[in-house]
Each structure stands twice: as structure tokens, then as C-alpha cells.
């Protein structure tokens, strides 16, 4: 079976399922070049081993003679239809808005790969997904550390405004899995939206979740935020942008990384597993 992983999320899923391994029983024949920037886990010698393509177009994808194309369900529907018309199976993955979407995507992949040797890996992956979640839930339930009470605001710059990720976003799931409160949800934000500073001052924030130092500088440049607890206490958690926006099972990895970062911030010198 020849597979094209046509989005960064599809590449993440293939990595997580171990489909890039030589023993997987199928061949990933092409990946998008943007996976280099946005995918969370790439196999060794990724660029040399897997031909890249820049455009999600039927002719480009069809040129790799795939049996299966894995892509996101918001990618060009005309391309998806053209591929299906040409007899190529297309497995579309939902954007992750809740844990149920991970299960849905895994079920779709299981259906698409059921005739391949990799079907066993996918079946095992379902158990792994649930086990990873249970492990996180246990950690959250047992957590007594001070930071578990923190109210975190994931934030980034959006055209001169501070934006955040509220209900129905993968970052909201990330915070939920990590066991911390999402201020954006309290603010009533749905999806990714601008944050009104006035409301932010009203609800207060214990910690900012950012992608890099530039984000922190951006927050510091806003005098209005000086009164926010997170600012006064210098509480910033830096998580790589790709991990923050993981649209795949790597959201579980992101949740573990966030917990570790929060632990480190609350108790410098210690490191949570």
C-alpha cells in the first residue's frame, strides 16, 4: 500500500502509528514540505527519505500513485473529490476539538488501513491512546501541587492583539488533559479569538502559555497587563508552537510537557517525569 500523508497532522498520525518504519508493511511515498515546520515528530533522514510536495493538488498527489491519501478534512474538497474520482482512497482527519475527535480519527485510519499489514499497529494504537489518557488522568487526580490550581491563558499575537484558544480548540483540550484551568474558556472564547484586555484584568491569570520569548516580550510591552498575577509573578510557560497546536495524539505529549514545565516553574530545580 502506497500512502501519501498530505498534512502535518497526517504526518504526525503516521509517526505516532509507526507507519514510517520499514517494518510497517506499507510505504509512505510522499509528505508535504510544510510538515518540516509543523509536524511534531519526523522520522530520521525525513527530507532525504520522503519526497516532499508543496501543493495539495490532485495532479501532484496522483503523481505519487498512492493507494491512500491521508489529509485534513478542511483541505480543498475539490482535490479530495478529484482524487476519489480517480479511484484513490482518501482518509480525512477531523480537526481536534476534543478527545473524542482523536478516537474518531483513529477509527477512520483503522478503516482505511484495515486491508493492510499495518492494521495490527492501528488496533494496538487505540489501546495506547486510551492508556496514555488514563495515565494523565491519574496524574491529574493525584496532583496536589500548587500549580494545579493555576488558571492558565494560552496566548499568541494576532495582528497586534492578544489572541487565545477557547472552547473547541486543540489547545483547550491540551489544557484540559494537563489538568489546569483555561482562562480563555472562562472568558467565553470559542475557538481562536481576540482577548479583550479589560476582561482579562477582570478575571486575572496565574500563568501565560506562550510559544517563545518573543511572545513574552509582546506581553511585557503591554502596560495594562502589569496588574495581572502572571505578569507580577513572571509566570510564563514556553511550549513549542507545534506542540501547542498539535492536531494529533501529540496533544497528549504536549499535555505531559506542559505539566513538566508548570512543575518546573512552580518549583525551580525539580523536574517532573
Amino acid at each position: 500500500m502506497r500512502v501519501v500523508a498530505a498534512s502535518a497532522a497526517a504526518v504526525d498520525w503516521c509517526s505516532w502509528l509507526g507507519l514510517f518504519d520499514d517494518e510497517a508493511g506499507l510505504r509512505v511515498v510522499a509528505v508535504p514540505t510544510q510538515a518540516l515546520r509543523y509536524a511534531n515528530s519526523l522520522p530520521p533522514d525525513f527530507e532525504a527519505r520522503f519526497p516532499g510536495f508543496a501543493k495539495f493538488r490532485a495532479e501532484v498527489l496522483f503523481g505519487f500513485e498512492p493507494d491512500l491519501v491521508i489529509c485534513d478534512d478542511y483541505q480543498n474538497a475539490l482535490t479530495i473529490e478529484a482524487l476519489r474520482r480517480a479511484g484513490t482512497e482518501v482518509c480525512t482527519l477531523e480537526a481536534i476539538r476534543g478527545f473524542e475527535d482523536l478516537r474518531t480519527n483513529l477509527a477512520r485510519l483503522a478503516r482505511a488501513l484495515e486491508a493492510s499489514v499495518a492494521s495490527q499497529r492501528v488496533a494496538e494504537a487505540a489501546d495506547r491512546l486510551e492508556a496514555e489518557r488514563r495515565a494523565l488522568e491519574l496524574q491529574v487526580a493525584a496532583g496536589t501541587e500548587s500549580w494545579t490550581k493555576w488558571r492558565v491563558l494560552p496566548c499568541y499575537e494576532l495582528g497586534g492583539h492578544i489572541a487565545s484558544a477557547g472552547r473547541g480548540s486543540s489547545e483547550a483540550l491540551l489544557l484540559e488533559l494537563a489538568g489546569v484551568a483555561n482562562v480563555a474558556t472562562d472568558l467565553g472564547l470559542v475557538g481562536h479569538d481576540k482577548v479583550r484586555l479589560e476582561r482579562l484584568l477582570e478575571v486575572d491569570v496565574d500563568c501565560f502559555l506562550v510559544s517563545d520569548e518573543k511572545d513574552i516580550e509582546g506581553l511585557r510591552r503591554r502596560p495594562a497587563l502589569a496588574q495581572v498575577a502572571a505578569m507580577r509573578e513572571e509566570r510564563f510557560v514556553v511550549l513549542d508552537a507545534r506542540l501547542r497546536q498539535a492536531n494529533s495524539p501529540f496533544v497528549l505529549t504536549a499535555a505531559r510537557a506542559l505539566r513538566a514545565q508548570l512543575e518546573l516553574l512552580a518549583n525551580p530545580g525539580t523536574r517532573d517525569g
Binding site: T33, A54, K55, R57, A58, E59, V60, F62, G63, E65, D73, Y74, Q75, N76, A77, L78, T79, I80, E81, A82, R85, A86, G87, T92, E94, A95, G166, L189, V190, G191, H192, D193, K194
Partner: protein, 338 residues
């Protein structure tokens, strides 16, 4: 004139021979067209290119012919379907449909029928453009002069543009939906099939058939509305015919390919520079040139710029605008071409 006319078949064949993947020989193209003696993969790739080339031909021709008609009617080189608000009306229709559907694709709420958004969004775009056309026709029927009609069009375009921005602001939080609207507004020929060419081909055929009945009157309008009227031009009827035809052309083109800027405005001006202002020649050659230009630009984007994601409207403006400016400046040093 012969050169312009010969570019279309040449560029059409080139659009089939070259693309993002393998190149084909003329012999293979012959086999594809007449003997069905090609491997499945090659035939499928040529199917994909054929659909795209047909849509590029129809859309390019429709937009350029629409612009040429409007410029003739309004005696204004700045007139184009977008100035009349037709493309903004289409954009508004498409944006509303995308919001109601939740996106253009399997992500939309019409999961039970994946292909429905692919029909409904262009249909809504067409409806939006028709609504604007209807408004313009009503204004025209009330006896508005050409300049008044043009001003009404500009007003409607601003209103529709504002409404589109409002819709975009409202859905900014939904990344997938915002991306759908933005992608649609860029205009694209990606993965269109021959079926997509049909809705544009029909109004285009009607408009081309109407040229013999319109070109003389449009020539007379160039002398001014009063003179044209004195020479027997029935200006109200002409205005309605031209506005209706050009709007239908633009509406169908925009519904199928999104907003592809530049062609409707620049191609007729370019052709006028080359062949003069007689509409009997100008209108068909504008259609031919618009089709050829979009085919060539699309071929360039698919072959030379295969690694870059650049939509045809942007590429047309980047490549064509400097050439056009050069021609205009060169011409203005001699005598006005209009």
C-alpha cells in the same frame, strides 16, 4: 490579430502537455484524445489537466469579454465587473454559504453529502452576483445614465465588500472557516473538472453570439451618449443588454473560479492598444486573449513555480501589471488610445 487568435490553441495544448508532474508528448496527447491507449495514471493526469485548462479558458474569456463590454458601454477604461459590484456580490454570496455550511469540504455540516458544498457555494456566489445584477438592471430601467449606473455599481461593490469583511470578522475565531473564505476569495483553478466549465460556457456562448448585434452600437456610444442616441442607438436597451450579459459572464466565472483580478480590467485595454477600439474586433479578441492569458499564467504557475503556492489572480497582477503600465506609458507619449 492572427497572432492573438493563434495563442489560444497553442496555450491550450501546452497546458495539457506540461504541469506539476510528468510532461507528455504530442503523440501521447493524440493517444489520449483519440485512441484511449494510455496507461491509467497518464490518462487520469491528463483528465485533471483538461478540466483545469477548460475552466481557465472559459473563465479567462468570460472575464475579459465582460470587461470589454463594460468599458465600451461606460466609455471608461477603468470599468470592469469588479467595479460594478458583481464580483463583490459573488464573494458575499460565497462567504455566507461557507459560514452556513461550516466550510467548503467534508468539514462542513453537510457530512452526509460531501459534494453538496461544492455545488452550493458556487450557486450562492452566482446568486449573490445575480442579485447585484438585478439591482443594476432596476437602476438602469429607471433611466439612470451610464455614469449613474457606474456610480451605483461602485456603491454596491463597497456595500458588499463591507458585508464580506463583517462576515470574515465574525468567523475569524474559526480557523478552518476563515481559511475557506480566504482561499475562496483568492480565486483558484485547482482541481476543477470539465463540469465546472459548463456554467461559464453557456453565458459565454450567448455573449459571443450577441456580439454582432451589439458591436456597432457600442462603437457609436464611444462618441458620447447624446451623439449615439442621435444616431439611432437605443441606449436604455443597450445598457440593459450589456449590463446583464457582462454581469452573467462575471457571475458565472467568479462562481466557478473565485475572484481572479486583473483580467476583466486589463485585457480589454491591452487588446484595445493592439487592435484599436472597434468592438466588432475588440470583443472577440478580448475573449480570446483573456482565455489565452489565464491559460499561460496558470501553466507558468503549475510548471515554473511548481514549488510556490501562488494563485492566478496574484500572479496575473505581478506579471501583467508592469507590462501593462509600460504599454500605457509608451502609448500616452504618442496619443491617447481611448
Amino acid at each position: 490579430m492572427c497572432v492573438l487568435a493563434s495563442i489560444l490553441p497553442t496555450s491550450f495544448v501546452l497546458a495539457l502537455l506540461f504541469g506539476e508532474t510528468r510532461g507528455f508528448t504530442l503523440r501521447e496527447l493524440w493517444a489520449y484524445a483519440f485512441t484511449s491507449d494510455l496507461p491509467f495514471i497518464d490518462a487520469t493526469i491528463l483528465d485533471l489537466r483538461l478540466g483545469r485548462a477548460l475552466v481557465a479558458t472559459m473563465v479567462g474569456a468570460a472575464l475579459a469579454l465582460s470587461g470589454a463590454m463594460l468599458q465600451g458601454l461606460f466609455r471608461n477604461p477603468l470599468a470592469s465587473p469588479s467595479v460594478l459590484g458583481v464580483t463583490s456580490g459573488a464573494a458575499l454570496g460565497a462567504s455566507i454559504a461557507l459560514v452556513l455550511l461550516g466550510g467548503l469540504g467534508p468539514a462542513s455540516w453537510l457530512r452526509f453529502a460531501d459534494t453538496m458544498p461544492l455545488v452550493l457555494v458556487p450557486a450562492a456566489a452566482f446568486a449573490g452576483a445575480l442579485l447585484v445584477t438585478a439591482l443594476l438592471v432596476v437602476v438602469g430601467l429607471r433611466g439612470a445614465s451610464s455614469s449613474m449606473l457606474l456610480l451605483c455599481g461602485i456603491g454596491i461593490a463597497s456595500l458588499c465588500g463591507g458585508l464580506v469583511q463583517t462576515v470574515q470578522s465574525i468567523v475569524l475565531r474559526d480557523w478552518e472557516l476563515s481559511a475557506s473564505i480566504t482561499a475562496w476569495s483568492f480565486g483558484s483553478l485547482d482541481d476543477r473538472s470539465p463540469v465546472h466549465a459548463l456554467p461559464v460556457a453557456l453565458p459565454l456562448a450567448v455573449a459571443l453570439l450577441m456580439i454582432p448585434f451589439l458591436h456597432r452600437e457600442l462603437d457609436l456610444v464611444a462618441f458620447g451618449e447624446d451623439t449615439a442616441r442621435a444616431l439611432g442607438v437605443r441606449d436604455l436597451r443597450l445598457r440593459l443588454q450589456v449590463v446583464l450579459l457582462s454581469s452573467l459572464l462575471a457571475a458565472s466565472a467568479v462562481a466557478v473560479a473565485g475572484q481572479i483580478a486583473f483580467i476583466g480590467l486589463v485585457v480589454p485595454n491591452f487588446v484595445r492598444l493592439v487592435v484599436g477600439g472597434r468592438h466588432g474586433t475588440l470583443l472577440p479578441l478580448s475573449a480570446l486573449s483573456g482565455a489565452s492569458l489565464l491559460l499561460v499564467v496558470d501553466l507558468f504557475e503549475r510548471s515554473v513555480l511548481a514549488e510556490m503556492s501562488l494563485q492566478p489572480g496574484a500572479l496575473l497582477s505581478l506579471v501583467g501589471a508592469p507590462i501593462f503600465l509600460f504599454l500605457i506609458i509608451k502609448e500616452s507619449r504618442g496619443q491617447g488610445y481611448w
